[in-house]
């Protein structure tokens, strides 16, 4: 039983992170698209589509972060210093992004400043998250149970590329979300932007898929040895099919399907990440068992987590249900 605990926790945290990436992904995407809107009214409309959701979406990030401390203190203690600057910049980006939601409406002459804070905060947060993901794939230098690398180990071409890839992915989520939630000019722009973002995402996916196994032998081995390959070959295939469907529906101007396809694409990327790294939490050295808290700690906090999980999921669903449907120009929740 006790050897399953870290797996249960990995599942809980993995789920929280996946929820975060998808849910806050489209919020951040809208921030990234902010500078490309032509008029202030369009920006109002874009912001309003995510206004009721963003801070609930961020909940999942805290759950992931605190979950890591609670269940895998060793991994937490290694990864945070390893990604010291990206984590800090991400947090500050999220703070600026978050308060912009409110201050932008109050501000009169300084509204443009909060536009910049909103867009800049979103871009920085998304870019840093990409760098962290890339850094996890690249591996973290460890000695014993502490980080042993330098302050800028994360500053590599591959990781920076992952940062841009994340920006492209979030833009796709944001643009397809706008296709689903808006009408008029904003929706029209979003359709064009979604197409561009999709091409960018496909480009980055191809680059990551080639670059990763070339640079990291352990990941190449994971995918391309038998019998593993027999299990994993559908992953690229499904991704290709989804990409096609996404492209098709954006072209047709379908409301909902492009967004759902974008989410599905994200999950495929995520599953690729999991396949490449499981069971390592601090690749390539420490796995979920080596970084786990003692069973007494994992059980104690799991009780609270299991109680809380259905409430959070239920609340999330309820909130999206209440605020379903399209938002017309000039409408808002303010």
């Amino acid at each position: 039983m006790e050897s399953y605990l870290p797996l249960i926790w990995a599942l809980v945290i993995g789920f929280a992170v996946a929820m975060y990436v998808v849910l806050d992904g489209f919020d951040l995407g809208i921030g990234i698209l902010f500078p490309f809107a032509k008029q202030e009214a369009e920006r109002d409309q874009m912001m309003n589509t995510v206004a009721p959701f963003w801070d609930g979406n961020e909940t999942w990030l805290v759950l992931g972060g605190v979950g890591l401390l609670v269940a895998f203190p060793v991994a937490y203690a290694i990864l945070m210093p390893a990604f010291y600057l990206p984590v800090t910049l991400m947090l500050l980006g999220l703070v600026l992004r978050g308060v912009s939601f409110e201050f932008r409406w109050i501000a009169k002459t300084s509204k443009y400043l909060w536009n910049i804070a909103f867009a800049g905060g979103s871009m920085v947060a998304g870019f840093m998250q990409g760098i962290i993901v890339g850094g996890m794939v690249s591996g973290v230098k460890v000695q014993g149970t502490q980080y042993a690398g330098g302050s800028f180990d994360w500053f590599t071409p591959f990781n920076l590329m992952c940062g841009f890839a994340m920006i492209a992915g979030y833009t796709l989520l944001g643009a397809t979300w706008l296709m689903m939630k808006t009408e008029g000019e904003v929706a029209k722009h979003a359709r064009k932007q979604a197409m561009i973002a999709l091409y960018a995402v496909l480009f980055f996916m191809a680059v990551v898929s080639l670059w990763t196994p070339l640079e990291h032998a352990r990941i190449a081995e994971r995918w391309f040895t038998l019998p593993n390959f027999l299990f994993f070959w559908p992953v690229p295939l499904v991704t290709a099919v989804l990409s096609f469907l996404c492209w098709h529906w954006i072209r047709k101007g379908n409301d909902t399907m492009p967004f759902l396809c974008a989410i599905a694409l994200f999950f495929m990327g995520y599953s690729g990440l999991v396949i490449s790294n499981f069971p390592y939490l601090v690749p390539p050295t420490l796995d979920v068992w080596q970084t786990a808290a003692v069973p007494a700690s994992q059980i104690f906090s799991l009780m609270g987590m299991l109680f809380m999980f259905p409430i959070l999921v239920g609340y999330t669903i309820l909130n999206y249900w209440v605020f379903r449907g399209k938002l017309k120009e000039g409408e808002g929740y303010h």
Partner: protein, 457 residues
């Protein structure tokens, strides 16, 4: 770069947590105040109580949001700047912090929405219930985080295995010796701080001749509450101090600037502690005073700073002065609220302008006292991070000093903008006053957004 990362990491934590603690202090007190207003409204049906409750709910929303934002930063800082501590104590304090986060979320996901947005959508008693639930919820958040903090002061219920603290008895960990005292002292401080904010806003309106009915209610409630609780806080603080003397005597020695434990301690009113020469300069003191307070005997002895080597002593000056600021404000609160109660009894509370005028500026006093109090207790634990078992110097991350410095500067810059805007905004809400506007905005359901509640109405 050879900038001392330890000192910088400490400054960074002190900076971010000092900003953070302001908001939970206020929201713990304010949610209880709003719940009280609503219960009174439910029983009396007086409309101005309703207006007041809605007014303070807007301010609550902004404060809660700023508390959340600054709290997220802290939950990651344990890892970025204090990774060795996270590894050492994660098994013990991690779950306690996990429960703190879960209670906060539970609140945000359930009753907070009703409290902020449900005014016209749910029956009155349900709204009252939601307010009470939020008040209890903020308190339970405090329960968990103070349990974790207290364990760092008086650790028990754990074992050290392979150099790491692991839990043995959760009840012993949570209910460690300093926890009940710290919990009582801090929650009382939160309520007292809030009562002074309420009192000050009431005084401000009366001086300005605005919202007289609401102002009188706020003044009566603020003065009445503080006149009872401020003296009570003195007693709780004293008990907390005695508990500290038992478990962390050197902290008390620093608070009293008491060097030589072989002699009874004097109650030092003012001095400049000279840490190098281990004595006080310019001392004004009441002989035997500290011994009388701490041991209830004029000739009673308690440990002095010299009983441990200088490397085991906390920074005496900071603790000594912070303690005096806290106690000074506490005594002022007792005197001013009891005097206010006296004026109230003589039916002069609302007309004594020379009393109301200065009182409108006392809203910040509680916050200053809370911050000073935390400075005393946290610096008093130095050089230990977990008293007696883990030193602060052992706790930092393997991160270069230059990194810590640059992120510190970033935090200072961003917090300066964000929090000054937030406080400016709260001030604007107070200036606008308790008016219930028409509800023109679309507000279906329960959006999970504390701050948007403030922009309604």
């Amino acid at each position: 770069m050879d900038i001392d990362p330890l000192l910088l990491a400490r400054i960074q934590f002190a900076f971010t947590i000092t900003f953070h603690i302001i908001f939970p202090t206020f929201t713990i007190g304010l949610s209880a105040y709003i719940a009280t207003l609503e219960v009174m409204w439910l029983y009396t049906g007086k409309e101005h109580l309703h207006r007041l409750a809605r007014f303070w709910t807007k301010i609550f929303a902004v404060s809660f949001a700023m508390g959340v934002v600054s709290g997220i930063v802290l939950s990651y800082q344990f890892g970025t700047n204090w990774s060795r501590f996270s590894e050492f104590a994660g098994n013990v304090v991690g779950p306690l912090m996990g429960y703190e986060v879960l209670t906060a979320f539970f609140l945000e996901a359930t009753f907070l929405g009703i409290m902020l947005f449900g005014w016209d959508r749910v029956p009155k008693p349900l709204h009252v219930f939601a307010c009470i639930a939020v008040a209890v919820g903020t308190l339970s958040s405090a329960f968990w985080i103070l349990a974790a903090n207290s364990w760092m002061h008086t650790p028990q219920g754990h074992a050290i295995q392979n150099g790491i603290a692991v839990p043995v008895d959760w009840l012993a960990i949570i209910f460690n010796p300093s926890f009940p005292y710290r919990l009582a002292h801090m929650t009382t401080a939160a309520y007292l701080t809030t009562s002074f904010v309420v009192l000050a806003v009431g005084a401000r309106y009366l001086i300005a001749g605005k919202f007289t009915e609401e102002a009188k209610t706020m003044l009566r409630m603020g003065v009445g509450f503080a006149a009872i609780v401020a003296p009570l806080q003195l007693f709780i603080g004293d008990q907390h101090g005695l508990n500290t003397l038992k478990h962390q005597p050197i902290k008390v020695a620093a608070m009293e600037a008491h060097w030589d434990g072989s002699k009874p301690g004097a109650l030092v009113l003012f001095a400049w502690p000279d840490e190098k020469n281990e004595k006080n300069l310019f001392e004004i003191a009441i002989p035997y005073g500290a011994s009388l307070v701490l041991t209830h005997s004029a000739t009673g002895l308690f440990p002095g700073l010299k009983s441990v080597p200088p490397s085991d002593r906390p920074p005496v000056k900071n603790i000594f002065f912070s303690f005096r600021i806290m106690v000074g404000i506490g005594l002022f609160m007792i005197a001013s609220s009891i005097f206010g109660a006296f004026l109230w009894w003589r039916r002069k509370l609302f007309d004594t302008r020379w009393y109301l005028w200065p009182m409108q500026y006392t809203w910040s006093f509680g916050f200053i006292a809370v911050i000073a109090g935390w400075m005393v207790t946290e610096q008093g634990r130095q050089p230990w991070l977990v008293q007696g078992i883990f030193r602060t110097a052992e706790g930092i991350s393997p991160v270069a000093g230059g990194m810590v410095l640059s992120t510190l500067l970033l935090y200072v810059a961003v917090y300066a903008i964000v929090f000054s805007m937030g406080i400016y905004y709260i001030n604007r809400l107070i200036a606008k006053g308790p008016i219930v506007g028409e509800d023109g905005a679309i507000k279906k359901g329960v959006p999970n957004r504390p701050m948007s509640a403030a922009s309604e109405g």
